[in-house]
């Protein structure tokens, strides 16, 4: 505040400013003529000009103050949003402290300069950026509401919330492997196109992934049509193989890269729009039907879940059905395995299907977080807390939300991850923290940023309590379950694998591959590692939530990944190539729909095998 506070909007050209130091207050218009005359003669030596100047100065000053204040509060408000997005459970004091850095600007010029510099940075031609989202959302918005009854239309409105959320997921995923190289290859002309395409593009393409992500067709482009470094064949491990890919991508570079990628972009965008609408229509029909039935059945009851935990409510509906083919549960399962839950409403479905909405106790999460802080040194918990701290900075280091690679500081979700894991340790001290949980919670956190930290916590708890397999009543991550999970791998390898894919089994056996070494990792991480494309993992969870028996589903998925690589695996002739192939990059170019359909088929077979075995034992 050491600058001249009177530097006004219009500069300081007023002569004799020393005389203009006496603000007149805000009620001059109410003064009587005598008062005005008196003030002018006493304070301004009878000079009306000076009086008018003072008035004008007062007004300008006030305007200036308002601008400064408005700017100050606007920045505070923005900061507050940011704080809310990155932290949670802060006390008023903590919030105030975090907002403290925001200072009021000294002069209006500073504010103006700020505004100008922001304006200068904004791209002049934002068409490329804005067009695709508006078409998608406006299409949705324009869908006419045919329903006449007000109560019905309300329900439909609610339903629309489930199905048609216009906001696509946005996660900005720095691709650690491709960014280095793709930077130089991406067309340079398109200035406002990001050099490294954010993963949101991948998520947006999901409905048609099996066509768009066809590995044969587009080996060296990412789903949005940008040319990227080719990663399909696991280049990290086999640096020697890189050369031929380089050659291929440079050939496609020669053909005017900007034009071709822009055309592809439009094409993909259009296809995406169409497919997205088609899928949404299918989901809408289904949900409308279910809603209608549920409402008919439960006239009096006010709160009835639509689908219920693991879609149990649909099973009740199914009981009234005479034809098995019409089963609502089956229809939901098939919708999910074919298309996945629409990303915009995924979190809502997850919340209900997982049972999180049932076990959530409002406020409880905050209490657990506080407890975790209070018991930071509790001997029974400290091991878990220490391990969490060891793992936090090692969780998704290449994701900007967890780790800011330019500043080397933890990203906003880092803190949420810590609190959620800590709270879980307090809630379930019998389980504690197990490595791998960090990845699961991490994935859940970036699934949908509109979901609160608290809800993510309950989703995680219910995944563990209700959804993942349990062994003798103990949950998946309990210490005692580890040996059962291990046994499940042995059984998977020796029984189901051998029976369902005998040829591949014989081959792997002959190479001395230990199948359980491969699948064990997948299971311990609940497939976060092998399905390291977010959208694929979310699909896995979608399907897991409605699977008849989650252990069968996990087994089927394991076999499904092998099945997908059957040809390739059969051509390998030593076991380390198998281990290397089936590592985390294996699913990079997998078609989601294809994998999920194989999986569902296998799941059915496994279920049948189990049943038959059960019968034989009886």
């Amino acid at each position: 505040m050491n600058k001249d506070p009177h530097k006004s909007l219009f500069g300081d050209s007023i002569h004799n400013p020393s005389q203009l130091n006496h603000s007149l207050g805000s009620d001059v218009h109410e003064w009587s003529d005598e008062t005005i005359e008196k003030v002018v003669s006493i304070r301004f030596g009878g000079d009306y000009n000076l009086f008018i100047r003072q008035l004008s100065r007062d007004i300008t000053q006030k305007e200036q103050d308002i601008i400064l204040l408005r700017d100050f509060y606007l920045r505070r408000e923005r900061q507050f949003y940011k704080v809310c997005a990155s932290h949670a459970n802060l006390t008023h004091l903590e919030v105030d402290k975090l907002l403290d850095d925001i200072q009021q600007k000294d002069t209006v010029d500073d504010v103006l300069l700020d505004m100008i510099s922001v304006a200068m940075k904004e791209p002049l031609a934002p068409t490329l950026k804005r067009e695709p989202p508006t078409t998608i959302s406006s299409n949705l918005a324009q869908q006419p509401d045919i329903e006449a009854h007000s109560s019905e239309s309300e329900r439909r409105g609610w339903l629309r919330g489930w199905i048609q959320s216009p906001n696509d997921l946005r996660y900005e995923w720095v691709r650690s492997t491709s960014s280095l190289h793709s930077g130089s290859r991406t067309p340079k002309g398109t200035e406002d196109a990001p050099i490294v395409p954010p993963l949101e593009l991948v998520s947006m393409s999901q409905p048609g992934d099996s066509t768009i992500l066809d590995p044969e067709e587009l080996t060296n482009t990412d789903p949005y049509g940008f040319i990227t470094e080719n990663g399909s064949e696991n280049p990290k491990r086999q640096p020697g193989d890189g050369s031929n890919f380089d050659a291929r991508s440079s050939v496609s570079q020669v053909v005017n890269p900007i034009d071709s990628s822009y055309a592809t972009l439009q094409e993909v965008g259009r296809r995406h729009d169409d497919e997205k609408q088609a899928i949404e229509a299918r989901w809408n029909t289904f949900c409308n039907e279910v809603m209608k039935l549920r409402n008919e059945r439960n006239q009096e009851e006010t709160f009835v879940p639509t689908f219920g935990l693991k879609a149990l409510e649909l099973k009740t509906l199914d009981r009234q059905i005479s034809f098995k083919e019409d089963s609502y549960l089956k229809r939901l399962q098939s919708l999910i395995s074919k298309q996945g839950i629409p990303p915009g409403s995924r979190s809502k479905f997850w919340f209900e299907l997982s049972g999180a909405s049932n076990i959530r106790v409002p406020g409880e999460y905050n209490r657990l977080v506080e407890l975790a802080k209070m018991h930071a040194n509790d001997p029974s918990l400290i091991q878990s807390f220490n391990q969490i701290d060891l793992d936090l900075h090692r969780t998704m280091p290449s994701n900007v939300y967890f780790h800011n690679s330019t500043t080397s500081l933890p990203g906003p979700l880092h803190h949420r991850l810590k609190r959620i894991l800590d709270a879980f340790v307090v809630l379930r001290s019998d389980i504690g923290y197990v490595q791998g949980m960090n990845k699961i919670v991490g994935n859940l956190l970036i699934a949908d940023k509109r979901v609160t930290e608290e809800d993510t916590f309950w989703l995680f708890v219910s995944l563990i309590d209700e959804i993942l397999p349990t062994y003798h009543g103990e949950s998946y991550f309990s210490p005692s379950s580890l040996k059962h999970i291990r046994n499940a791998q042995t059984e998977l390898a020796q029984v189901q694998f051998a029976l369902l894919m005998p040829k591949l089994y014989a081959h792997l056996k002959q190479l001395d591959v230990q199948i359980e070494f491969i699948t064990m990792n997948w299971w311990l991480l609940v497939f976060t590692d092998i399905c390291n494309l977010m959208e694929l993992w979310y699909r896995v969870i979608d399907n897991l939530l409605v699977s008849d028996k989650s252990e069968d589903f996990l087994k089927a998925l394991s076999l499904g990944i092998f099945k997908h690589y059957e040809k390739k695996l059969l051509s390998l002739d030593n076991y380390d190539d198998v281990y290397v192939l089936m590592n985390r990059n294996a699913t990079r170019n997998i078609g989601f729909r294809e994998l999920m359909e194989i999986t569902r088929e296998l799941e059915r077979k496994i279920g049948k095998m189990e049943k038959d075995r059960g019968k034989r034992w009886e």
């Binding site: 197990v434 490595q435 056996k509 070494f517 064990m520 990792n521 311990l524 991480l525 380390d576």
Partner: protein, 222 residues
């Protein structure tokens, strides 16, 4: 695929490659994966994701006349997964037991691993004891109280001598002594049983009799 058969062809003229199954054990975050990454890719990552289950990597290493192909199983450090370790060290011909020289608890854990390996793993397993993160104490003066070092060289050497282990202090970060560990292990591995190169160790359970290495301890390992 073509490449591979060519490889084989070529190799019949080169000195035989011996495959060595090597397992890494040690407390969480001591730097097992970082050591492997340094050895395999000569790289270091500040924030390496924790290993869960076990990671598999291979790397060749030439020692004198011989080429050794390491088949590395890098295991998870969290105590919770300790019971899985036998899966991976079964049949291993070599083991690295890693601790962090700035963390005394990790040294205690290393002792346990050495003991367990002696009791459960194959009898002629070659074990190296590795004290990692040497870079953190590089500029220490002797007797410096503020030193980050919590496990002295002497302690490590003593344990190694008592148990008949190779001993190294390393830094995955600066690459200090990392290759030496693998070269050291390689030169201690006996040549004889390894002459069965990449050939799969026969099929099913019919391997054992022909080779000295295989699962002597198999029966009691789990």
């Amino acid at each position: 695929m073509e490449l591979k058969s060519y490889d084989k062809y070529r190799m019949s003229f080169a000195p035989p490659t011996t495959s060595v199954k090597l397992v890494l054990l040690g407390e969480a975050a001591v730097g097992k994966s970082s050591l492997v990454l340094r050895f395999v890719s000569n790289d270091f990552q500040e924030n390496k994701e924790p290993t869960i289950g076990a990671a598999f990597l291979t790397q060749k290493c030439t020692i004198g006349e011989r080429t050794i192909k390491y088949e590395i199983w890098d295991t998870a450090g969290q105590e919770r997964f300790a019971s899985l370790a036998p899966m991976y060290y079964r049949n291993a011909q070599a083991a690295l037991v890693v601790y962090d020289i700035t963390k005394p608890a990790s040294f205690i854990k290393a002792r346990h691993w050495v003991k367990e390996l002696h009791e459960q793993a194959s009898k002629d397993i070659t074990i190296a004891l590795v004290g990692n993160k040497h870079d953190l104490v590089e500029d220490d003066n002797d007797g410096d109280d503020s030193s980050l070092r919590k496990v002295s060289i002497e302690e490590g050497q003593k344990l190694a001598d008592e148990e008949g282990l190779l001993f190294f202090e390393t830094s995955a970060k600066t690459a200090y002594n990392v290759n030496e560990v693998f070269v050291g292990i390689g030169s201690k591995i006996p040549e004889a049983p390894l002459l069965k190169p990449q050939q799969p160790q026969a099929t099913d359970g019919r391997i054992d009799l022909s080779t000295g290495t295989a699962p002597a301890a198999d029966g009691c390992a789990c």
